[in-house]
Amino acid sequence: MHSSTLHQRFEARFSNGQTAGADEVTVELTQTGLVIHLSGGDSVTWPLAKLATAEPLTTHAIDALVTCSETPGATLFVPGPKFARTLAQVAPQLTASEARWRSARPWIWATVALAALAVFIWQADLSPAHFVANLLPDKVRETMGRQVVGSLTERRRVCDANAGRAALDQLTERLSATVSPPRNFHVVVVDWGLVNAFATPGENIVLTRGLLEQATSSDEVAGVLAHEMGHGIELHPETGLVRAMGLSAAAELLMGGSGGTLGNLGVLLVQLSYTRDAEGQADDHALEILSKSKISTKGIANFFERMAKQHRGKGSGGLAGMLSTHPGTQQRLAKILAMEGYSATPALPAAQWQSLKTMCEESS
């Protein structure tokens, strides 16, 4: 062991830290300290606990440069690997591995704590994003909604034929009148062949031409609208965007860059899919809205069933994603069909329904 090299004398150069000059000295290591024998005959002892080296000691060390916090500025340079190895044995706190562990330890604990917190949030079903979404002022939600609708309608025509628009407003009014506290829903139809509907922040809903064409009755459209209103009431779009923005902001932070996260709100929303719980909540709201406004739930049940058959295995976001990615469609249909038991009237009179269905064709 190192006992053979303890008390062995090594040649070294000592600088007092006042000038860049140096003196030839000899040094020895003892169990308690580093003894420097100065050329004049005097000697100084540096306690092991107060030593520092220019670089952490490794097995590759070819020499050592030692300082002591008791004598700031003074340095001791000892050539040769033998002294460095002995020093690493008597003062292990100077080794590279100990130094690394010392500086990394607090951050490792912080990582562990963060991971534990994440697992807790996940297990306890807490949604920080939903919490943040609830705090957003209406103005911010409206702005978010405007931008999402803006990016969804950017390269597509908004259908606004007068008769169709009036019919849609009439239907929206009939449905939202049953919501309390009252919400001011605004529905936009875009000239888009895709069969889909999106709830967007700030009580905005986007319907596609494809969906209106696919629907066989106004009750079906009413059902879809009620379902999307349910998402809106529960702030699901806001929650999804807050979560996606949080994730990408975190990713950007990790990468140390700043990118155009916010320019792509619409793209993000299309990619979002809601959890089965969220879809269930939206369904519950839809059933309540439909029953209160005396519209049959058969419409939405038919529509979902047809869509689920056509879109099995495909579709990513929005309504189509909800239908295709979640296995509970059958249970949900059963729940919807069990709701009947009140006298329902058609969601829209036949003439208005026709105007709504063809509102994209008629507008110029």
């Binding site: 830290g17 006042q18 860049a20 220019a54 670089e55 990394a104 140390g256 959890t275 089965r276």
Partner: protein, 437 residues
């Protein structure tokens, strides 16, 4: 390394100054061992601390690199700490990065993503960032010099970092306006602003010389690049024309479609010409860079000595290309485990990594994916820097091995300057390295 032939001219040493203390300084490089191992250990620590350990990792690398630089066999010492770098980053983050992010987010929210106002705000941010970039360079130099010692004597950098930042920014604006011809003057000016403010102990460094000697090499670079660019264009044009004439008179008509195999051949030839042109460009620019380094070394004086550089374009290019290959190797090394895990996940019938943006769905497998996707992003982002310690040691080693200090330095005369340490204490950010951005 010692230059025996350069007989130092000694101006009659006074009796108080014994001639023995005037001596040559031998600058040498003791290549550090174990940099690959250090790279791997640092990578592991960075991973399990979510990247925070980076500041300590960089500090250990610097300690090793500084120790490899020897003056008369004794190492330079890096006395900076990871904590200082971390705090410096936090300050820069809070004072610069966070406000910039908030302002650009706010502008998008207030005006919408495609508004011209958003463009104006980002333009203003770019101007600010480029200005701060120069300030950051100066302060990073200051931090490193203050944290560098030899025989316990500190380096330092006086002067005004805002002035440097302003010079950096204004002369950068002039680069396109002068078709690049300001570059030699600009780099010389910026280098002299640093060198003339640098000290070791109480002894100043000085920069003696102008940008004149760089204009010859720069003209060669400038016309060389122009020549390579137009030469490549003309060669591609000539070969295309030759092929078309060989195909007969119809081939020169506008609507003519080349047969696919000939089009592929032409594409290959053009690509080869572009590749050769790019290599030529890399070589010319490396050669110019080597001339700049050697010129700056020659202009740098300390006491009765001055530096001499023997850097060559070929040497720099070799270091650059091999370093690039080493960094790519690091990425490949990290891609292997990540892609194996993804392949296993895919085999288990799980959704591809794009699912990372979707809301977490129940189920252990999806939970695992939700955890692994961000970790793999972290791994791949860090993998570019995996072997950075190795490449940094190679670059620095090449430079030091081709640098010497000729002439005499009176080391006993150099004393610690405590006054300087006080006068540079302009605030926390001053002392901290802000090259974090």
């Amino acid at each position: 390394m010692t230059n025996e032939t350069a007989a130092p001219w000694n101006p009659q040493p006074g009796p108080a100054e014994p001639p023995s203390s005037q001596s040559e300084i031998n600058l040498s490089w003791f290549a550090p061992f174990g940099m690959i191992g250090l790279s791997l250990v640092n990578f592991f620590y960075r991973l399990i601390t979510l990247g925070i350990y980076d500041f300590w990792a960089r500090t250990e690398v610097r300690k090793r690199l500084w120790s490899a630089i020897r003056l008369n066999g004794e190492p330079l010492v890096y006395t900076g700490t990871g904590k200082e770098l971390f705090l410096g980053f936090l300050i820069v983050f809070g004072v610069v990065l966070l406000p910039i992010m908030l302002i650009s987010f706010g502008a998008v929210f207030a005006f919408g993503p495609n508004s011209p106002y958003v463009g104006a705000v980002s333009a203003a941010i770019y101007v600010l960032v480029f200005f701060l970039f120069g300030v950051g360079i100066f302060r990073a130099h200051r931090y490193r010099l203050l944290r560098t010692t030899w025989r316990g004597i500190r380096g330092s950098l006086s002067g005004d970092s805002w002035k440097y930042g302003l010079t950096y920014f204004l002369t950068m604006l002039l680069i396109p306006l002068t078709f690049g011809w300001i570059v030699p003057w600009r780099t010389t000016k910026l280098q002299s602003m640093i060198t003339n403010n640098a000290h070791f102990g109480d002894q100043p460094f000085s920069f003696k010389g102008g940008s004149g000697p760089l204009y010859g090499p720069f003209a060669l670079l400038w016309f060389g690049v122009l020549f390579v660019f137009f030469g490549a264009l003309m060669m591609i044009g000539a070969i295309t024309h030759m092929v078309q004439t060989a195909l007969g008179p119809g081939a020169l008509e506008p609507g003519f479609k080349l047969p696919p195999e000939i089009a592929a051949y032409l594409g290959f030839v053009s690509l080869s010409i572009v590749a050769v042109g790019y290599l030529l460009y890399l070589f010319i620019s490396a050669w110019y860079r080597s001339r700049t380094i050697n010129h700056f070394a020659k202009c740098t004086h300390f006491d009765d000595a001055r530096f001499e550089g023997r850097v060559t374009g070929g040497g720099l290019l070799w270091i650059d290309i091999t370093n690039l290959l080493i960094q790519i190797l690091g990425v490949i090394l990290m891609l292997i485990p990540v892609s194996i895990i993804f392949a296993l996940l895919a085999a288990a019938g799980l959704s591809p990594p794009e699912a990372g943006l979707q809301s977490p769905q129940p189920g252990l497998a999806n939970g695992f994916l939700a955890v692994f996707a961000p970790i793999s992003v972290l791994i791949l982002a860090l993998s570019f820097t995996l072997l950075l310690p190795v490449t940094q040691a190679r670059s620095m080693g090449y430079l030091i091995k081709n640098l010497s200090l000729n002439g005499n330095v009176d080391v006993d005369k150099i004393s610690q300057s405590t006054a300087q340490q006080m006068s540079t204490g302009e605030g926390l950010a001053q002392a901290f390295d802000i090259d974090a951005f």
